[in-house]
């Protein structure tokens, strides 16, 4: 049983206002049947230091990833995980986390790969909840286990692989990393190995829009006009055209994916989760360095 969506005038201009809830709404609806609040953080211990009362923890690293292959868990794994967490297929899931919801957006994107229907982000994330002086608890909720069905993960609509990106070259790509990562400058001393990839730079034609541009100073999403100015006017995205976002491992680009898909309403948005750690180490893929997007290579 899902919970009705928040009627919040601040969200109404977004393409899919039902995908967002405010901290106030979460506070009012805590404990409602059919609502599960999920915390998903970069830092694996933050939940233990205190979380929204009744919230369950889902850790991207240790729970949503396949422990062996570089991939997400499969349908059986997801069913086992959500059953253990006490989440039903028809529950409303509200996800929040640290760092303006990077990892919360990542978790939401993975939930979406399994077609969990009603999954929302709490605008502003963990920091906003704490800044507003709202209650935290260290108690682990004991939710009774559920029987979440095994649903086959569907990557086709929301996820891009390296080959998809190669075929996509020439069409809109958004690089959401920092400008230094985009241009390929070395940011650490030469004696230390660069983490993650063998080459620096960006995918040809990708436009640089660091993920944080979508976030207002108070940690919430910017309004729809501001977002439109950044992505449509600034980065040249046009409605109806497919777009792929990437970062280093796919977590910051999940944040941008959420903005493009749910707040601005682009219909074909994919997250390339292989991102720079794959592209920057792959053999014979084109790379551009410097501040300019560069040209798409001629097709052979």
């Amino acid at each position: 049983m899902t919970v009705e969506r928040e009627q919040n005038p601040e969200f109404e201009a977004y393409a899919h206002p039902e995908r967002l809830v405010s901290t106030a709404w979460v506070a009012e609806n805590l404990g409602r049947e059919g609502l599960v609040v999920v915390e998903s953080d970069e830092d694996v211990l933050l939940y233990e230091t205190g979380h929204i009362p009744g919230a369950v923890k889902v850790d991207w690293h240790t729970e949503l990833n396949d422990p062996v292959q570089r991939d997400y868990i499969d349908g059986a794994g997801f069913a086992a995980l959500l059953s253990k967490k006490g989440i039903s297929r028809d529950d409303t899931v509200v996800i929040y986390g640290d760092k303006n919801n990077w990892w919360a957006a990542y978790a939401l994107w993975v939930f979406s790969l399994f077609g969990h229907e009603d999954v929302r982000l709490m605008d502003g994330g963990r920091d906003t909840w704490i800044a507003e002086g709202r209650a935290l608890s260290t108690e682990r909720p004991a939710r009774p286990a559920t029987d979440y069905p095994v649903v086959t993960r569907d990557d086709s609509a929301l996820r891009a692989y390296k080959d998809d990106v190669l075929a996509h070259l020439g069409r809109p790509l958004i690089d959401v990393r920092s400008p230094e990562e985009y241009s390929g400058e070395r940011t650490t001393a030469p004696a230390y190995p660069e983490e993650g990839a063998l080459r620096a730079g960006h995918i040809p034609t990708a436009r640089s829009v660091p993920w944080g541009k979508a976030v207002a100073e108070d940690g919430r999403f910017k309004n729809v006009d501001e977002l439109s100015a950044i992505y449509r006017d600034g980065a040249g995205l046009t409605d109806g055209e497919p777009v792929i976002a990437y970062c280093r491992i796919g977590e910051r680009s999940s944040h941008t994916w959420f903005v493009l898909q749910h707040l601005l309403g682009f219909e074909d948005v994919k997250n390339y989760d292989g991102s720079w750690t794959e592209w920057g180490s792959a053999v014979r893929v084109p790379i551009v360095t410097g501040a300019e997007p560069g040209e798409a290579p001629q097709t052979r």
Binding site: L45, T188, E195
Partner: protein, 145 residues
């Protein structure tokens, strides 16, 4: 549990972790995190003396000193990064009071011996490995090796 390559504090801390189940290991990591002391004033006023650990996503800075032949490591990391603080605290408590030779003999894969890979993820543990390597690098520089 009886790994001959670890001795003293390092072995004690490893056993402290291995004696616990997975979720309790996270709690223990949080206890270490809470135990990380603030920087002494002489270092707090001179952030340029500390080295940023780039392998950690959270901003963490360390400095290793040698006094009378004995090692002390100091670290600074924000409270919003309890895992990184926990890593720093483990290393500080492991290295503190060791001779330079003992500290340099600490195996590079010490972070992987604490039974944290499943609780924390190998990727996150890389941050602790980076921290250890930088601490050793600083030590070698201090004693000219």
């Amino acid at each position: 549990m009886s790994d001959s390559t670890l001795t003293g504090q390092a072995a004690e801390i490893r056993d402290e972790f291995l004696d616990l189940d997975l979720s309790s290991r996270l709690e223990l990591l949080l206890e270490f995190s809470n135990e990380l002391p603030a920087l002494p004033e002489r270092l707090a006023d001179h952030p340029e003396l500390l080295e940023r650990v780039a392998e950690c996503q959270a901003p963490v800075f360390i400095v290793v000193e040698v006094d009378d032949g004995l090692v002390t490591m100091f670290a600074q990391a924000p409270p919003e990064a309890p895992t990184t603080r926990g890593f720093a605290s483990i290393l500080a408590q492991t290295l503190n009071g060791l001779t330079v030779d003992e500290a340099l003999a600490l195996p590079d894969d010490y972070p992987q011996m604490l039974g944290l890979s499943k609780a924390v993820s190998p990727l996150r543990l890389n941050g602790m490995s980076g921290m250890l390597q930088r601490a050793k690098r600083q030590l070698r520089a201090r004693v000219g090796r």
